[in-house]
């Protein structure tokens, strides 16, 4: 029996990283929003590594923040250490990473949700979607409550028909022994969604009292204060270190000897695992000539002695796991407090989604996060905010917001998913982005704050500060372009002091700064700006001028891409009626239903001739219509 519980604008299912962002975005955009989740004690739970950020992923967190998301702020409040990675490399790949206090992260996020005025949080399991005339109109819970809504966002992560595997042991379960979502998974299949089975895994955890850190290398956080959010002003100074140790020949031998007990090699696992997070048994088989692998020992929080053993993800039997740990330097006496496991789950084939993350099959239903075949907290959060925004905009009768590949890693992520699909859990990498140089960590605000403001997630006050920053950057760049140095004795002497060669001709400061040995600080000494500039402004001026040549090159490529992107494919296009398409591309086009010729051209198997033919077909239809 079900009963009508209540009516909302937007219902979000699942309070993981995707669901939290989706619900907050919708509520902050003025929609009455309900967030349903299995357990209020596992909100924004990190089932795997207690860390957020890193290359590409950290970029995403910055982008989320510029759009008005929560992840950056939340980790700024709850980390145990932060480090800027890749500082020896170019600015495009600087990347911030934080180790999280897991429990604190959850508590903070829960509080933020609870305090949000338009948001209702409720613990319950959704078993069905309410479908009327093929359109999603709400959800039905296990307890029989019917919640009606204009749009629904589904973010159930790795819970759909979840199955945990440890050696011979297998049981139905969500991550970390949470309840799995079985009925909902079956319901999605009944609705006609094409599902795939994916797999991922996690290492054992140990008690820090039982490890010997004197045999490991220390990995402290940066001394310099760091933050993800462009709004953070308070920094945590008291940081905890992580530790680095290695596997050795003994470890490898031990694993070799027990391989026959690994479910991966005995054929017990059907789900497809990601190449980029192989289990330790996988690493040892595939890279047999490597005689050691790194193991990072990371605290799970300040109020616990539990440590995460990064590098030792495994689904070997429990006794083997314990023994493996003991072969490692510093872990000889380690007590395992949680056993590592692999988990299999259902995911939706993401080419079934529009770029707005609304499903093509069921209008009104949006999906985001690991359910869409991705992996990672940041990837989930990124989709969450976009699905939340677009679900709210649909309620408000507005066009969806879609970020393109030159605007954000979020754009790359979603475009890849809905255009190419994925045959393994998808993880962002910097090499997936064609315009990496434009998608920098440092300029996420310049790229996206306008959008966040237009959407309504960036408040007036923050926007004002942002505009002032942008103006200051532009003004200073203009000044450096105008200010010229003349090659006279005084100038040459100044240049010598800065350790750079003389100039032969009149030279603009904007050009001088391109010399590798000079920084903005040096230029400032030659000609100080009229007003004092903030660190961020100086950083932007330096990067934008120093790498101008490369940035221009990327911008030209973007120009080309945009032209194809602007050519929309009208709704009346019927691929079965377009003569001359190869059958492979016809099938792919029909499946993906690209919104633009640009998107169409990125589908694998669709070649330039198909695009030409499509253009002619559209042109013809356009004239007759």
């Amino acid at each position: 029996m079900s009963y009508h519980a209540s009516t909302y604008d937007v219902v979000v299912i699942g309070a993981g990283h995707a669901g939290c962002e989706a619900a907050l975005a919708a509520a902050r955009m003025g929609c009455q929003t309900l967030l349903l989740t299995l357990s209020l004690d596992t909100i924004a739970y990190m089932p795997c590594n207690p860390s957020i950020g890193g290359p590409a992923k950290g970029h995403v967190v910055r982008e989320l923040d510029a759009l008005g998301g929560e992840m950056g702020k939340n980790i700024d409040k709850t980390h145990i250490q932060m480090r800027m990675l890749n500082t020896g490399k170019g600015p495009a790949v600087y990347a911030l990473r934080a180790q999280a206090d897991k429990v604190l992260y959850q508590r903070e996020m829960k509080k933020v949700l609870e305090e949000e005025p338009n948001l209702t949080l409720h613990q319950n399991m959704v078993e069905k979607l309410l479908i009327q005339d093929g359109v999603c109109k709400g959800v039905i819970t296990r307890t029989g409550a019917e919640y009606h809504a204009e749009t629904v966002v589904l973010t159930t992560g790795t819970y759909l028909r979840g199955k945990i595997i440890i050696g011979d042991l297998q049981y139905e379960s969500g991550p970390n022994n949470q309840q799995p979502s079985v009925n909902l998974a079956l319901h999605l299949q009944e609705l006609g969604f094409n599902m795939v089975r994916f797999k991922t895994g996690t290492p054992p955890r140990i008690n820090s009292r039982t490890i010997d850190t004197s045999k490991m290398e220390i990995q402290p956080g940066d001394e310099e204060p760091r933050a993800f959010s462009f709004e953070t002003t308070e920094y945590i100074t008291d940081q905890l270190p992580c530790w680095l140790t290695y596997t050795n020949e003994k470890t490898h031998q031990y694993i070799q000897d027990n391989l026959h007990r690994a479910p991966m090699y005995s054929g017990k696992i059907e789900g497809r695992g990601p190449r980029y997070c192989p289990s330790i048994e996988d690493k040892i088989v595939r890279f047999a000539d490597k005689n050691r692998h790194q193991i990072f020992i990371e605290p799970e929080g300040r109020e616990t002695l539990e440590m995460y053993v990064q590098g030792l993800s495994t689904s070997l039997p429990e006794d083997v796991q314990q023994d493996i740990l003991r072969t490692i330097d510093g872990l000889e006496k380690a007590e395992m407090v949680r056993t590592g496991y692999a988990i299999e789950y259902d995911a939706i084939v993401p080419t079934q989604l529009w770029p707005s993350l609304e499903t093509k099959l069921v209008p009104g239903l949006f999906t985001a996060g690991q359910i869409n075949g991705t992996s990672g907290y940041e990837e989930a959060a990124a989709q969450g905010i976009m699905a939340g925004i677009n679900a709210a905009r649909k309620v408000q009768g507005k066009e969806p917001v879609i970020l393109d590949r030159s605007e954000a890693y979020i754009g790359v992520l979603i475009d890849d998913l809905v255009t190419k699909g994925t045959n393994e859990p998808y993880r962002l990498l910097t090499s997936r982005a064609e315009y990496r140089l434009l998608l920098r960590h440092d300029n996420a605000d310049l790229r996206l704050t306008d959008k966040g403001y237009d959407i309504g997630l960036i408040k007036e006050e923050r926007y004002g500060r942002f505009v002032a920053k942008r103006d200051a950057i532009e003004k200073e760049i203009a000044r450096l372009r105008k200010t010229k140095l003349t090659p006279n004795a005084e100038v040459q002497a100044q240049l010598a002091v800065l350790g750079t060669s003389e100039i032969n001709n009149v030279m603009e400061l904007a050009n001088l700064i391109k010399r590798p040995e000079l920084s903005y600080q040096d230029i400032m000494k030659l000609s100080p700006p009229p007003e004092k500039l903030s660190e961020e402004v100086m950083e932007q001026v330096e990067i934008q001028l120093k790498y101008e040549g490369y940035i221009q090159k990327s911008l030209q490529q973007v120009e080309k891409m945009k032209r194809m992107e602007e050519k929309r494919i009208p709704h009346w296009v019927d691929y079965t009626k377009v003569s001359g398409l190869s059958s492979e591309s016809r099938e792919k086009l029909q499946q993906v239903q690209p919104v633009s010729l640009g998107q169409a051209s990125r589908i694998s198997g669709v070649n330039p001739a198909d695009i030409s033919i499509l253009m002619i077909y559209i042109e013809q239809g356009g004239r007759t219509a």
């Binding site: 997070c277 990498l429 090499s431 001739a609």
Partner: protein, 458 residues
């Protein structure tokens, strides 16, 4: 719509070895000006006028060809865009070089059927013709694809694959340094990358040299010699190759059952495909022979169908004659030194006035006539060595040059102290350009490479 400027060869080589290159797009006139020298700059002349001048290599100032150039300004043109037509006189090599120079000015090689597509999209061709335009694009694309496949089995592709895998290994290594900064892979040094670039550049230079001599890339008119077993196909092939010095080529035979030879018949490059590689007995072979012939037909630009003067026409002969209708064909009646059994009246009935030569390979009679006929057919445009062949040559050279430029950019950048991960952008570019030469440019390759080369993960 798309108004970038494109170029393609518009007509096949004619008797006087004239070929016309057509250029279309907003900047057609100003871009051609970069490589044209005549009395007036083309950008100053009136529309629909013809001008005499030279194609000049702007970097070396070398004269490439003597040309007539027609300037036609939009909208009264085939594509409704600005159009320039260059009539080249210097034969294959000049056409190729001119195309190459055009591309170095930023002009893009037209996709198959693109002129017609533009004409259509710009409203020059009637709406009702859409189907025909689509058919044309499809047909041209399929033909180009066929050539691409042939080339992808060749030596050039082999070299390029090796080069690309060298680049992608370095790219993957750089990517790992970026994406997994804590992973214990060696951090690539600038010196290492520069060394790699030097070696890559050297390889590209070598390819460019061969490409420019036209050795590896030159194809030739694919000429299939077909006929029943024992009519004298192999003998004819041998005769043609002995008489005409075989062209030295680096392209290895691509089809196992078909023998290929490259010969130069009266200045025309022929790729002879002999299907008589197999000899067995009885009926089965008859069938196999015919089947092989049919396969060779599919790739042919020209067909030599051999019949036996000393035997009556047979069922298989008729079948092949029927098949040959779709191809420019010369009918060769061999073994005239033996008594005649074949009925010429009957043959005429089937082939009409298509060219027929009677000869004897054994007696060395009539071969000259055959060669004369091949030449005439070529210059009258009946045999059209697929444009795509020489176009693809010019295109390859252009891509190789661009790839080389990108590699030099990497080295320049590093010398200027640009961070490696930025210099890498140019390296990736080189990798993609080389991929275009052989029709592979999928970025997913890189990601595959990263995870197969390095052991990453949690």
């Amino acid at each position: 719509m798309e108004n970038d400027t494109i170029a393609a060869i518009a007509t096949a080589m004619g008797e006087s070895s004239i070929a016309i290159i057509r250029v279309s797009g907003t900047d057609a006139v100003t871009l051609v000006d970069h490589i044209y020298q005549g009395k007036n700059k083309l950008s100053t002349v009136a529309t629909h006028t013809v001008h005499y001048g030279h194609i000049i290599d702007p970097t070396t100032k070398e004269k490439i060809d003597e040309v007539l150039v027609t300037v036609m300004l939009a909208p009264r043109t085939f594509t409704r865009e600005n159009v320039v037509e260059i009539s080249c006189h210097g034969g294959l090599v000049a056409v190729e070089q001119t195309l190459g120079l055009l591309m170095s000015t930023g002009i893009r090689l037209a996709e198959p059927g693109e002129f017609t597509k533009r004409a259509f999209l710009n409203g020059r061709i009637d709406l009702s013709q859409a189907e025909a335009v689509i058919d044309l694009i499809r047909a041209k694309t399929d033909k180009a694809a066929k050539i691409a496949i042939r080339q992808s089995e060749g030596k050039l592709s082999h070299h390029i694959r090796a080069l690309r895998s060298e680049i992608v290994e370095t790219l993957a290594h750089l990517a790992v340094n970026v994406d997994y900064p804590e992973y214990d892979a060696d951090v690539l040094t600038s010196q290492y990358v520069v060394d790699r670039c030097m070696s890559i550049k050297k390889d590209i230079d070598k390819l460019l040299r061969t490409a420019k001599q036209g050795k590896i890339l030159r194809e030739g008119i694919a000429t299939a010699i077909i006929g029943r077993p024992n009519v004298g196909k192999s003998s004819l092939m041998n005769a043609l190759t002995q008489e005409n010095k075989a062209i030295v080529t680096d392209i290895p035979g691509t089809t196992r059952d078909v023998i290929e030879e490259y010969v130069n018949v009266r200045g025309i490059p022929l790729k002879l495909l002999d299907t008589a590689g197999i000899r067995e007995t009885e009926d089965v072979v008859e069938q196999i022979g015919v089947k092989r012939s049919e396969e060779a037909l599919q790739n042919a630009d020209l067909v030599l169908l051999v019949l036996n003067h000393s035997e009556a026409l047979q069922k298989e002969d008729m079948r092949l004659i029927e098949k040959s209708k779709a191809y420019p064909t010369i009918f060769v009646i061999n073994k005239t030194d033996l008594p005649r059994q074949i009925d010429y009246e009957e043959i005429k009935k089937y082939i009409g006035d298509r060219p027929m030569i009677s000869l004897s390979v054994k007696a060395e009679q009539g071969l000259t006539q055959l060669e004369e006929t091949i030449k005439t057919m070529f210059f009258s445009g009946q045999v059209d060595m697929n444009d795509q062949t020489y176009v693809s040559n010019a295109r390859h050279i252009r891509l190789l040059e661009q790839a080389k430029a990108s590699i030099m950019e990497v080295m320049n950048g590093i010398e200027l102290g640009v961070p490696l991960d930025m210099a890498e952008i140019d390296m990736k570019n080189a990798w993609q350009l080389l991929g275009e030469v052989i029709g592979e440019a999928v970025a997913e390759d890189l990601i595959d490479q990263i995870f197969s080369q390095f052991c990453l993960g949690k």
